[in-house]
Amino acid sequence: MKQEALLYFTDTWLTLLGLVLFFSFFIIMLIRVYSLKKEYFEMMSKLPFKELEDER
């Protein structure tokens, strides 16, 4: 069964490379996000409310 499933699995290296890229990017993203300060997030989340004078 397993053999059969992998029978047509031709470009293994490509899939592997994809997965490695995928997971490393992901981990880096998580580390980055969690190393950022709370004030930064607060400032960003208020952007939609930063109104200009006369803004409707």
Partner: protein
């Protein structure tokens, strides 16, 4: 005047234009949908008309809903929120106008060509090549206008909504271009460069990600802007929104193959699609929770404010649909659910609930603001909400019940190993009552929308006559980065770098999935190679495509025992290796046709296509009387074969030169057979029905004679 200030205004006129277009096309999309729903409940509503028959109406409905209604809503919301988030007027007023009128022109072209039968038959990519080119051009105009605005922005930081818009613009461009590579045959007919399994994979990579990047990411951007604005408090967790964003753009692109489980697609690609679909659960629910909890401390608004009602329901439907999607990607669930109306229920909880309700909330929010007035009636809006909600629930519940009924009946096998319901039509008549319930759901949803149209119209009438764009003052931009900033902050300040990163995110999954399948030769077994269609069969196939038979019939027998019992051996890669476009289909309102060749005599098809009830009482398939009067275009066949040959189909030069003669000869032999069985119809060999019969009789019969 203060030297450090700049004075500017927003281009709100373009937002207004897109909003009104959204309203108009929404009405059209809902009406087409309702008619199509009624046609399945009551077949005479196909009206024996070639222009309104279900197979042509359904693509019109889906295109109107996705590109006309949702498309215009996205553009309105993006143009409004981007200007405000970036504190800048749109890059170019002119590009905005070209974008608007170009897009409406494309919609009109679709509304004309689809009923006329000009279709590539690839779901949500039906439009023919000249329109494909127009879409590309207009999208580029949109991109220039958007990125130009980013470039001239006065706010250094880019709010997360902008990220979602960037990912949308880049990915939709990639999807559309890759899936639309085709060779023209005539002005409104083309063949895709991909064939069979390649075409299937590219199409569902496209189809799935059209849902992801046309109906999800832009709407999430809108959610992250409008939900806080409507609730008047910042998003629950900005940190979560960043994780939401990156996880979605990364994972979504891999999930396409879940549309092809148990098909001839190699198992590894199916498994990959399934795993990544399951992974989507996490970010989708993170996003939903983030949206809903934005209301923290203000839940009372849910009782009093119809806009909040719409928003909260929309986000809840987003959560439901993104829960159900991965569920349906689990192979054992897909075995029962795929090809059934469950999928139709699933997409409508997304389209009507998530996209529809979010757009409605946005329109109710924006119209009074943009036209400097107040909404005419909050009460009407509340009634709209309840009508819409009950409509969606009726729709969803009836279709999921219908789907599970179909799935169970198709797979029911008794103790002798025989099908319990061998007559397919039994499984059709059983669910017709549910089609009526679904149509009722549609009526309610449409009724709610009509209330909205009235409400908006009344609101516009109270608007002051002279509408001025107010001028704003903002500090001159100064982006010199101060030394203390982390790289991330610099990064999200840089539009270009950010766009490149998003592109890489979607490119990785795309390349990994598509490249191996493009090397088709690796999968084809020489012993099982099939012959290409004869010229007449190809003519018949193009009629099949024109009539949208794929909207009700699949041509892909899955590797499931009940399916093999019903239809014959599972379909192979080789059987569709010359199919441009592939016709595997996605829904079985009628039975699979992959092995219908030789199942019935020519006479049966002749009578069935004229009136399906004459051979199969209780059938809901439309009549096709026009196929008995329209003439087959024999002359174009040489051109068609030659385009196919240049795409690698092994037609000989002799076959090209004689295409029309060969076809006429084959037509004569079918006509002889029909005549012997009592059909009297002068000049029958010229008629399209004969070509179609030739194709139906060739299905599953093209294995190469040794």
């Amino acid at each position: 005047m203060n030297q450090n200030y700049e004075y500017f205004s927003y281009d709100d006129d373009i937002v207004k234009k897109f909003l009104l277009a959204t309203m108009i096309w929404a009405g059209a999309a809902f009406l087409f949908g309702l008619l199509a729903a009624l046609q399945l409940a009551y077949w005479p509503l196909n009206l024996n008309s070639e222009y309104l028959t279900f197979g042509r109406l359904r693509p019109l409905h889906t295109n109107a809903a996705i590109f006309a209604f949702a498309g215009n809503a996205i553009f309105a919301g993006i143009y409004y929120s981007t200007q405000r988030l970036l504190k800048a007027r749109l890059f170019s007023d002119l590009l905005g106008r070209i974008h608007f009128w170009g897009w409406q022109l494309i919609i009109v072209a679709a509304a004309i060509t689809l009923p006329l039968g000009y279709s590539q038959s690839k779901e949500y990519a039906e439009l023919e090549w000249p329109i494909d080119i127009a879409i590309t051009l207009v999208w580029v105009v949109f991109a220039i206008n958007f990125f130009g605005t980013i470039k001239k922005r006065r706010e250094k930081h880019m709010y997360v909504a902008i990220w979602f818009y960037i990912a949308t613009i880049i990915t939709v461009a990639v999807l559309h271009i890759v899936n639309s590579i085709e060779l023209p045959v005539t002005f409104l007919k083309s063949y895709p460069v991909y064939a069979g399994i390649q075409d299937a994979l590219v199409q569902w990579w496209y189809g799935h990600n059209a849902v992801a990047f046309f109906l999800t990411t832009p709407f999430l951007g809108l959610m992250y802007y409008f939900m806080p604005k409507i609730a008047d408090r910042p998003v629950y967790s900005y940190r979560l929104s960043i994780i939401h964003f990156w996880s979605l753009v990364f994972i979504y692109i891999w999930a396409g193959p879940h549309h092809l489980l148990y098909t001839a697609l190699p198992d590894w690609a199916q498994t990959l699609g399934m795993i990544f679909s399951l992974m989507l659960w996490a970010p989708s629910w993170g996003g939903m929770i983030n949206g809903l909890l934005t209301l923290r401390g203000a839940w009372h608004l849910l009782r009093t404010d119809p806009l909040v009602k719409f928003m909260v329901a929309a986000i809840t439907f987003y959560g439901m649909a993104t829960f159900e999607g991965p569920l349906l990607s689990i192979k054992s669930v897909s075995a029962v659910g795929h090809y059934t109306d469950w999928i139709i229920g699933h997409v409508h909880s997304g389209a009507l609930g998530w996209n529809g309700f979010l757009s409605f909330a946005m329109i109710y929010y924006l119209v009074p603001k943009l036209w400097s007035t107040k909404l005419y009636s909050l009460k009407l809006a509340t009634t709209h909400f309840w009508l819409g909600l009950v409509g969606i629930l009726l729709y969803y519940i009836s279709m999921v019940s219908a789907g599970i009924t179909q799935g169970l009946m198709w797979h029911a096998v008794n103790e002798n190993g025989k099908l319990v319901y061998p007559d397919f039509v039994e499984t059709v008549t059983r669910i017709v009552p549910l089609y009526w319930v679904r149509a009722l759901g549609g009526v309610l949803y449409l009724a709610g929308f009509i209330l909205m149209a009235y409400n908006i119209w009344k609101t516009l009438k109270t608007a002051p006559k002279d509408q001025k764009e107010p001028t704003y003052a903002a500090l001159k931009p100064n982006f010199e980065s101060s030394s203390g900033e982390t790289t991330h902050k610099k990064l999200e300040g840089m539009g270009l770098v950010f766009s490149v990163l998003s592109f890489i995110a979607i490119a990785v999954g795309s390349i990994v999935e598509i490249i191996p399948t493009l090397s088709l030769h690796k999968y084809v077994e020489p012993a099982r190679v099939t012959d290409p269609y004869s010229a007449l069969e190809l003519a018949g196939r193009d009629i099949y495509i024109r009539e949208g038979c794929y909207t009700c019939h699949s041509q892909m027998i899955r590797k499931l025992s009940a399916e093999v019992l019903r239809y014959g051996p599972a379909s192979t890669i080789e059987e569709s290796m010359w199919d441009r476009p592939f016709q595997w289909g996605s829904k079985r309102t009628g039975p699979d046709l992959a092995r219908s060749g030789g199942k019935y005599p020519n006479l049966w098809h002749y009578r069935h296509m004229m009136d399906p009830r004459s051979t199969t009482p209780g059938s809901i398939m439309p009549n096709y009387p026009w196929l008995y009067t329209k003439k087959t275009d024999y002359l174009v066949l040489r051109k068609k074969l030659s385009v196919m040959q240049s795409l690698g189909v092994p037609y000989t030069d002799e076959q090209l030169a004689q295409a029309d003669l060969d076809a006429q000869k084959q037509a004569m032999s079918i006509v002889e057979d029909l005549k012997q069985n009592g059909v009297e119809d002068p000049k029958l060999e010229e008629k399209e029905i004969v070509a179609l019969i030739a194709y139906l009789q060739a299905m599953g019969k093209k294995e190469r004679a040794e």
